[in-house]
């Protein structure tokens, strides 16, 4: 009989950098668990059986969560082994846990369905996943585990091209390399990483972590070609000639902009431009770095997703007052709860039920205010399940010398404009079948390029699924040949 133990209803908290300290810099906000705290939190897990555990089903890549927590507990006297075995369990489904542990919306996934959530706080799965990955990285356990895998890889003849080095592409490349394929990743920018690099700020995802993941790809023998804009430098039809299969993971990189007067005034940035200048080009270190950023005293961020929170908290750190303006209500915001809470703690203000209808400029063409239409909420729901909103007719004008637009992105048109026969749906998303194959045989696609705009974990899930589908496709083709 199992020993009776007391149920711990509350989470073991993770230490965070104090607000006054963090808003001065770009260091990571959440400091994560150490082994002892992680173990205490893992102890709270009820260890639901694998075939039942709701968290596994709630995870887009079905990580065996009770399984990796059990490993931590099983080897509690040997942290090194505990982490190594836990990492092995995670890696079976997810090769980038340091990243997903930080950026996944766990409250809508694994943690949202955790049984413990019914009686207290759900298990802090995200932070535990992150702990395993961080501890492994700091103690080079991940390299060791990888070196166990690498010699066992049976090299294959076939070559696969991956287009875009973001979360979907990197995952797909890693999985294919583990299966023995020769993988080349083509990246348009000067560094690989995609949105992990240009989009998500340092204080949420330190770039050192992304670099560590890229180092692993190198160990797996993946070749990454930067400065290659597929569609321009080389086209998909040309890749098909040279490679046995192609995976398109070009994301959703084109910013949506509201079609209202004054959108081209100076001081109005797309979130992409703002974040790229700061994250990728390090404009916050100008003039040590050459790319500048201009930020006023009052910034309005339009939108309420993760990108909006990232932009708002970045602007705040650069010394601006920040208001997030959203056309819907507080409960409709799409960002992760943790990001919203951090933004609030750090002093970001919020305006709800306002929609921009005009940007007002001064004589030099610089933005000085935003005119909003006040919205009101109806009881009906729209096709996305969100409460419908309509204009009230009443307007409000708010001063701002910087405006950041974060209302979403659509896929870049370069790919489909240069790929005859590639079927494209609404908003330029690539159409795929259930195996993620596009209308062109041997060409697969995943991530935001097929979804429009989703999360890092869904993109990674696609990358993994596509790798499997590509493997099946090539194996079948080999047999028929």
């Amino acid at each position: 009989m199992m020993a009776k133990r007391k149920l711990m209803k509350n989470r073991v908290p993770t230490p965070e950098k104090p607000v006054y300290e963090r808003i001065k810099g770009f260091e990571e906000v959440n400091l994560g668990y150490d082994f002892e705290l992680a173990l205490m939190e893992a102890e709270r897990c009820l260890q639901c059986p694998e075939n039942y555990a709701p968290c596994i089903k709630g995870c887009p890549v079905n990580i065996n969560i009770p399984g990796f927590l059990a490993k931590l507990k099983e080897h509690r006297d040997n942290p090194y082994l505990a982490v190594k075995e836990a990492l092995r369990v995670i890696w079976a489904c997810n090769s980038l846990p340091a990243i997903t542990g930080r950026v996944c919306p766990q409250e809508d996934q694994c943690e949202g369905v955790c049984v413990m959530g019914k009686v207290g706080d759900p298990i802090n799965i995200g932070k535990l996943e992150r702990f395993v990955a961080d501890y492994a990285r700091q103690h080079e356990i991940d390299d060791e585990l990888l070196m166990e895998i690498v010699p066992k890889i049976e090299k294959k003849e076939q070559k696969v091209a991956v287009v875009g080095a973001g979360p979907a592409g990197l995952t797909c490349a890693a999985e294919l390399a583990k299966m023995g394929y020769n993988v080349t990743v083509f990246e348009a920018l000067h560094y690989p990483g995609g949105v992990l690099l240009y989009g998500i700020p340092e204080f949420r995802l330190p770039k050192e972590i992304v670099k560590n993941e890229l180092k692993k790809l190198e160990l797996l023998g993946v070749e990454i070609k930067t400065d290659h804009i597929v569609g321009r430098t080389i086209t998909i039809p040309e890749l098909i000639e040279e490679y046995d299969a192609v995976f398109i993971s070009t994301g959703a990189g084109t910013p949506k902009l509201p079609e209202v007067p004054g959108i081209n005034l100076n001081g109005i940035y797309s979130a992409n431009e703002f974040l790229t200048r700061v994250n990728l080009m390090k404009a916050y270190k100008f003039p040590e770095y050459d790319t500048p950023i201009k930020l006023g005293k009052k910034t309005i961020v339009i939108g309420a997703g993760n990108t909006a929170m990232d932009a708002a908290r970045t602007a705040l750190r650069l010394g601006s007052e920040v208001i997030i303006a959203y056309r819907r209500g507080e409960e409709d915001m799409t960002a992760r709860i943790e990001e919203i809470e951090h933004a609030k703690e750090e002093g970001v203000k919020f305006m709800f039920f306002v929609n921009p209808i005009e940007f007002i400029g001064d004589e030099n063409g610089n933005v000085k205010a935003v005119k909003f239409m006040k919205m009101k909420v109806l009881n009906e729901r729209d096709s996305n399940g969100k409460r419908k909103i309509i204009p009230t007719g009443e307007t409000i004008t708010v001063e701002a010398d910087t405006v950041i637009i974060a209302i979403g992105q659509i896929p870049n048109k370069i790919i489909w404009k240069t790929t005859p026969g590639l079927e494209v749906g609404k908003n330029g998303t690539i159409v795929v079948d259930e195996n993620l194959m596009t209308s062109i045989p041997g060409v697969f696609a995943g991530g935001d390029a097929i979804r429009g705009e989703a999360t890092v974990i869904l993109a990674m899930g696609d990358g993994r699924k596509a790798a499997k589908a590509i493997h099946e496709y090539l194996t079948k083709r080999e047999k028929n040949a």
């Binding site: 000067h190 400065d227 321009r232 081209n264 040590e288 050459d290 030099n364 610089n366 370069i414």
Partner: protein, 288 residues
């Protein structure tokens, strides 16, 4: 890493780099540009290759010293050195049609971008007249253009050392307007094409419009990624928001909102000046 096979100062503030970048050159067409990042802490800047050899895999870039980055490139990069990144080709190729008689104008180093397009237009059967207006010591590509097109004119405006640089630039604009007016009367072109600073593009467009001649301009607003991702380069053309990097760079001059673009192009001027001054101080400090 892209090796510099040759470096040569071809005129005041104009440096020619022959760079090995076969992946870009393979696809390059007249009118397209590349994004260059030269240094580890450097910015991404758009440059238009002036000529290239697909077989040998090199392209020629003429870098004009106009800010910190271009000054650093022209000062520090030597033959045998490398550009860190060259991505491209970007933008749409120039429209290759038979227009008839074309007047293609490049102000200052704008002639670099005119060169491959003018040459290609001539080759497909147009009668191309090219014009460079710049300061006297900055005339470039004269011999090359004389060989490549029906007629090339280079006009050098003397630099008045008593006057400030912006004052001197006004003389170039005035001279260019005068010469363009005369040439339109003389040639009676079917198309005018122009590359140069956006303020000058507007000034020349005003002259061309008097004659009601169709006019194309290549626009080069501030860019960050150059691939359609950031929207820094947005311009209003025909009342619509367009991205110069993916929708351009060539647009119908009659539809471009030049005033807006002039303002957008000057937004970072103070920071650009600051970066350049700090770099110049560093250079002077290093020389002591």
């Amino acid at each position: 890493m892209y090796k510099i096979l040759e470096r040569k100062e071809i005129a005041m503030r104009n440096v020619w780099f022959k760079v090995y970048a076969p992946h870009v050159v393979k696809k390059l067409q007249p009118g397209q540009f590349v994004i260059v990042r030269a240094f580890e802490n450097g910015e991404r800047i758009p440059l238009t290759p002036v000529m290239w050899d697909k077989e040998e895999g090199w392209m020629g870039l003429v870098v004009f010293t106009r800010g910190k980055t271009t000054m650093q490139i022209n000062t520090e990069l030597k033959e045998g050195d490398y550009f860190l990144n060259i991505a491209g080709p970007l933008g749409n190729p120039a429209p290759m049609k038979k227009y008839g008689k074309i007047l293609a104008i490049g102000l200052y180093t704008g002639i670099v971008e005119v060169f491959p397009i003018a040459k290609a237009w001539q080759e497909i059967g147009n009668e191309v007249h090219t014009l460079q207006v710049t300061f006297e010591p900055m005339i470039i590509l004269k011999d090359e253009l004389e060989k490549a097109v029906s007629k090339h004119t280079a006009v050098g405006v003397p630099i008045d050392p008593e006057k400030s640089f912006p004052e001197n630039m006004k003389n170039v604009t005035a001279k260019a307007r005068e010469v363009v007016r005369d040439m339109i009367k003389e040639i009676n072109p079917d198309l005018v094409f122009m590359v140069g600073p956006v303020g000058d593009q507007k000034a020349i467009f005003e002259v061309v419009r008097e004659f009601n001649v169709p006019m194309l301009v290549d626009l080069h607003p501030i860019m960050v990624d150059g691939t359609g991702m950031c929207g820094a380069c947005r311009v209003t053309v025909g009342g619509k928001v367009r991205f110069a990097c993916v929708d351009g760079p060539t647009f119908n001059a009659y539809e471009v909102d030049f005033d807006e673009l002039i303002k957008r192009s000057s937004y970072y001027r103070d920071l650009e000046m600051r970066a350049m001054q700090e770099y110049m101080q560093k250079l002077q400090g290093g020389a002591q």
